[in-house]
Each structure stands twice: as structure tokens, then as C-alpha cells.
């Protein structure tokens, strides 16, 4: 049976990708300004490391990688959902302005409540994701309202999204102008995509949301399949289209918001990962979502490793590396779409 072969393929691809992610994780643990040999990494992981190694590995590098895995998976799932409901392969939280909305909220939050971009208070760590979510939600509501014309036209949605994106971009720039040079730089790096809250508190602050939302998105796979047939067919098949679309849209927006809170404005990943997943697995979301998530994790982890180490000790922000890796793919997609 075809179904079984597909399930077997899913298991196979997932296993390979998980192995690759673990491998990459182990390699990147070795890399960095402070060199730690593989043996010492192993010793530290089983609890026999020196205090210095323990600090570098377990308190600095590992939380950063866990965040990369979460953000990569989150952006991929968010992009998959947006692509399904807009029936547009180019939809992605970064391109249609949802990330910019979240970014605006984050910069506003830090600038008004913290006064500086350099550190986060304990309360800030918990509040920040919520603010990012609200910003993402505002952007999504704006896009939805502006693009609504007796339903959502996929091309209109993307065009309006691009407009909303530049609108929020401009608003962020206005705030940046008022910052001191140091904060300005920080904000600029963060907006291009930077995993910044690299400690376990930050992981704990966003992990519950991901544990809740990503499985929910996968649970909604069938709804996404039906919605991607278009409104008329979806209604004919007994789907409450507006309600279901709103539900999955909220999930996509929330996930994107939390990703921005942790990783800044990483673009393209939400576009490329689902696309590769669709190429491998076909159009069913039961298969796309898990594969896209793990591919997203892999790409972000890889990009972060490159960004951290390529020009070490200078760091390239991860968003830029993702863009450099993904932009050619994006252009290829644009050329293929008429």
C-alpha cells in the first residue's frame, strides 16, 4: 500500500534528520572561541567536566543550540501553515510582515521598559515572548483586514504582507534612530536574526509554547490539507472554513511571534524548509509538518554554527547566514512561479 510506504518514508527521513541534527549538535559543541576537545565535551556531557567547560558547554552553547532547534522548527511549521492557507508557496512569516510586527513589539518593549538593548530582566524574559506574540498578532490582523475582499486572494495576501512588512520596518527604524549607537547596533543585529537570550531561562520561557503549539499544528494537518483545496471545496467537504482558517492562522502567528522573541527577524527559513519538505514528502501536511520542522532545525543549527565560527571571533548573525543559504533557493522559486 502506498500509505504505508509513505509512512515508512516519513520515519526514514525523520530518523536521518534527527541523526544529522545530533551530529551537528555534537560538532558545534566543539566549536567556538573557547576550544574544547571532543573528549572533554563527552566528559562534560556525562558530568565529569571542569567547571569552565561545564559553564561554556552547558550554560552557553547548549541552550543556544536548543533555541536554534526550537526556532528553526517553529519558523518552518509557521511557514507551512501560512503557505497552506494562502495557497501561496511564497508566504512566510518573514516576508508577509508577521516577523516585522513581532520585531516591532520586541524593540518597543525593550526600549520602553528596559531602556537598553543589552540585557533582559528576569521578568522581561517571560514578558518578551508575549509581547512578540501580540506584535505578530497585530501584523496578522492588519494583513487579514487589508487583504480581505470577499475572501482572501493568495496574491493579494502576499502583496499586502510585503507592504505591512515595510511599514513595520519603517516604524522600527524610527525607534532605532532614537537609540544610542550601542543599542542601535544591537537592534540592527537582532533584527537581522540573532539568537540572543542564550540561557536556560529563555529556553524555559518559550519551550512550553512550542510543546503546545507544534503538536497542535500537526494535529490540524488534515484541516490544512482540506483548506489547501480552496474555500469552495473545503466547505463542500464540511469544513467551517473561516473558523478553521482563523485557528490555524493564530497558531502560525503565535509560533512566529515566539520565534522572533528568541531569534529576531530570521527570514526565508519559513519558506525554504516547508518547500524542501513538500518536495520530499508530497502535499499532505501530516508528512510535511514534521519533516519541515526538523529541516528547519537543521538549517538554523547549521547557519548558527557557520555564523559563530566562520569569521571567529567576529560573529555573523544567524539570520544573515540563513538568508545567504536560502536566498538562491528563493530566487529559484520566484523564477519558477509565473
Amino acid at each position: 500500500m502506498k500509505i504505508n510506504t509513505k509512512q515508512r518514508k516519513l520515519v526514514k527521513i525523520l530518523s536521518i534528520m534527527v541523526l544529522l541534527v545530533i551530529l551537528l549538535l555534537l560538532i558545534s559543541l566543539n566549536l567556538g572561541v573557547v576550544k574544547i576537545s571532543p573528549m572533554n565535551v563527552f566528559q562534560t556531557l556525562i558530568g565529569n567536566g571542569t567547571p569552565k567547560d561545564q559553564f561554556v558547554l552547558l550554560e552557553l552553547r547548549l541552550p543556544r543550540m536548543v533555541l536554534a532547534i526550537l526556532i528553526g522548527a517553529g519558523l518552518a511549521v509557521s511557514g507551512s501553515i501560512l503557505q497552506a492557507i494562502s495557497k501561496n508557496d511564497l508566504a512566510e512569516p518573514g516576508i508577509i510582515g508577521i516577523n516585522a510586527g513581532a520585531g516591532f513589539a520586541v524593540v518597543l518593549f525593550i526600549f520602553t521598559f528596559q531602556g537598553t538593548m543589552t540585557g533582559l530582566s528576569a521578568l522581561g524574559i517571560w514578558l518578551l515572548p508575549i509581547f512578540a506574540f501580540l506584535g505578530a498578532l497585530t501584523a496578522a490582523a492588519l494583513i487579514y483586514i487589508l487583504a480581505w475582499k470577499k475572501g482572501i486572494n493568495p496574491i493579494r495576501l502576499v502583496l499586502v504582507g510585503i507592504g505591512v512588512n515595510s511599514g513595520f520596518g519603517a516604524a522600527i527604524t524610527i525607534m532605532q534612530i532614537k537609540m544610542n549607537p550601542q543599542d542601535f547596533m544591537k537592534a540592527a543585529v537582532w533584527l537581522s536574526g540573532d539568537i540572543w537570550g542564550t540561557n536556560w531561562n529563555f529556553v524555559i520561557a518559550i519551550l512550553p509554547w512550542f510543546i503546545l503549539l507544534i503538536p497542535y499544528a500537526i494535529w490540524k494537518s488534515h484541516t490544512l490539507n482540506i483548506l489547501s483545496l480552496g474555500d469552495q471545496l473545503a466547505i463542500g467537504l464540511g469544513t467551517s472554513v473561516e473558523r478553521e482558517r482563523l485557528k490555524v492562522l493564530l497558531v502560525a502567528v503565535a509560533i512566529a511571534g515566539f520565534c522572533v522573541a528568541a531569534g529576531g527577524g530570521i527570514s526565508f527559513l519559513g519558506l525554504v524548509a516547508p518547500h524542501i519538505a513538500r518536495k520530499i514528502m508530497g502535499p499532505k501536511h501530516q508528512l510535511i509538518l514534521p519533516v519541515a520542522a526538523i529541516i528547519g532545525s537543521f538549517i538554523l543549527l547549521l547557519s548558527d554554527a557557520i555564523g559563530q565560527n566562520l569569521l571567529s571571533p567576529t560573529q555573523i548573525s544567524v539570520g544573515i547566514v540563513v538568508a545567504i543559504i536560502s536566498a538562491p533557493y528563493f530566487i529559484y522559486l520566484l523564477m519558477k512561479t509565473n
Binding site: K2, S221, H222, I235, L237, T239, G282, P283, Q286
Partner: protein
């Protein structure tokens, strides 16, 4: 009882009213076709019957119940809808597409039960697609593709099937193939079929009941013999047609037609 009926139905988009005060009855177990010129509101009517479009006034009744009071999923267990030129996501297999027809009977993650698989395989068998079931929908010919969509619709296991121009963009042989399939479903399983169709001869040949519309109004309804007359065609399509009896099917057929001259058009308007 009528399986589907309307009462004082008024349909439109925003300010524009397309259908005025329409009362029609669709009989169970029959093939009903709706004919009329472009823009007469036949597709809009079908969408309204299918609860895809909301009526401005009046009611649609599904087996006597007001349709907008029935949960949409429950409707989908009783009525399947195939819109005009539907599009499948690229890469979707025929089997997967047909499996979506089980949607109204499923919950949550939509794992297929043995019963679901049985129905899907039956739907593929009836539509002659069993051999092709692992092929992707985008690789099919127009006729096969339309059959795949019909397979999805009948996998819904509904008594009632609504189709909007199921033969558009198909060549002559494939048009007939699709219509014969629908006829078979009607005769062998007693499914009620309502469709909008452009080809008058096909409409006359395959329907038990015809509804002729013009400018949102019902002009004539009845058997093919009652509706496919030179008079009705003149009024509905403004054509001067020669209607004969098809020697093979014994149904009325439009042999040839001319456009009405302006003079005749005026007379037609004055006569009303």
C-alpha cells in the same frame, strides 16, 4: 419529499441582485440540470444550494430542513459539491484526493478506517481509476482528472451530488464519459444529481428534469421535451433554434441555431 428546494430565494453580491424570488424543487433520485445563458445566475444558484454562497433572502431546504441551520459537516454527510474547475495541490495522488471525500465522516487527525478505505476503493473502481490510484492528479488528462474529483465527491457517500459544469474544458468523448458516469451513479445507486451544464443536447439527453433560467428568473422547468423547445430556447438564449428528436436517444436535440435578429428581439420583449 423534495430532497432540495428553495423558497423565495434572493441571491446577489453586495448591491447587485442576481436571482430574484426563486422557488424550485429538486426531486430525489433524479438528474436535474440547470441551463441558461452566461451570467443568468445558474452557478450562483448552485453555490447557494450548496451553502457556499449565502442567500440575501429566502431559504434553501435540505430534506425539509433549513440548510443554514444544519452544521456544515452534517450537510457534507448528505450533500457533495463539486465546484467549477477545481484545483488539486500539486503532487497529490488520486487515492489521497479521493480520501479527502471521507472528511465529513472523520475526526481530528483523519486516520482512514477499514470502512473508509473500502469506500475510497469503491469510488475509484466506479470511476475507473483503480489502476491509476497512485498517480498524481496533475499528471492526468482532463477527463481522468474530472473523474478523480467525482471519485472524491462520491466517496462522501451522499445521496445528493451538486456539480457546477462538470464537463467544461473536456473534449467531446470525455464529456460523454463523465456524463455517463453520473448517469450510472444515478441509475444504479439512486443518487440525486443536480448540475449546471452548458451543452443543451447533453442536458436534454441526461436529465430527468431541466430548469431554464434567464436573468435570475425561472423561465421554464420540466422534462427535456417540455424545456427543449424552440420557444423556450428563443426566450432563454435569444436564439432561433431547430429542435429535433435525436434518433438514437429519442430526446430533443438542438440541431442548429441562428442568433435572433434585432426585430425579433424587440417583438420578444414587447410580447412579454
Amino acid at each position: 419529499m423534495d430532497i432540495l428546494s428553495t423558497e423565495h430565494l434572493k441571491i446577489g453580491y453586495e448591491e447587485k441582485i442576481i436571482v430574484h424570488d426563486l422557488n424550485i424543487q429538486i426531486q430525489s433520485g433524479k438528474i436535474t440540470t440547470i441551463i441558461g445563458p452566461n451570467g443568468c445566475g445558474k452557478s450562483t444558484l448552485l453555490k447557494t444550494l450548496a451553502r457556499i454562497h449565502k442567500a440575501k433572502e429566502g431559504f434553501v431546504y435540505l430534506e425539509g430542513e433549513q440548510i443554514h441551520k444544519i452544521p456544515t459537516k452534517k450537510i457534507a454527510q448528505r450533500m457533495a459539491v463539486l465546484p467549477q474547475s477545481p484545483e488539486a495541490p500539486s503532487g497529490l495522488t488520486i487515492f489521497d484526493l479521493a480520501s479527502y471525500g471521507r472528511s465529513p465522516h472523520q475526526k481530528g487527525f483523519a486516520r482512514l478506517t477499514e470502512k473508509d478505505k473500502e469506500v475510497i476503493n469503491w469510488a475509484l473502481d466506479v470511476t475507473g481509476l483503480t489502476e491509476l490510484k497512485n498517480q498524481e492528479v496533475d499528471t492526468l488528462s482532463g477527463g481522468q482528472r474530472q473523474r478523480a474529483w467525482i471519485a472524491m465527491a462520491i466517496a462522501q457517500e451522499t445521496n445528493l451530488l451538486l456539480l457546477d459544469e462538470p464537463t467544461t474544458y473536456l473534449d467531446m468523448a470525455h464529456q460523454l464519459e463523465v456524463l455517463q458516469l453520473l448517469k450510472k451513479l444515478n441509475e444504479e445507486e439512486g443518487r440525486t444529481i443536480v448540475m449546471v451544464i452548458h451543452d443543451l443536447n447533453h442536458a436534454a439527453r441526461f436529465s430527468d428534469h431541466m430548469i431554464a433560467m434567464k436573468s435570475g428568473k425561472l423561465i421554464k422547468e420540466g422534462t427535456a421535451e417540455e424545456v427543449m423547445t424552440e420557444e423556450v430556447l428563443k426566450e432563454v438564449f435569444q436564439i432561433d433554434a431547430v429542435v429535433v428528436k435525436d434518433p438514437r436517444t429519442n430526446k430533443p436535440a438542438c440541431l442548429s441555431y441562428e442568433l435572433l435578429k434585432n426585430q425579433e428581439k424587440k417583438e420578444l420583449i414587447l410580447a412579454k
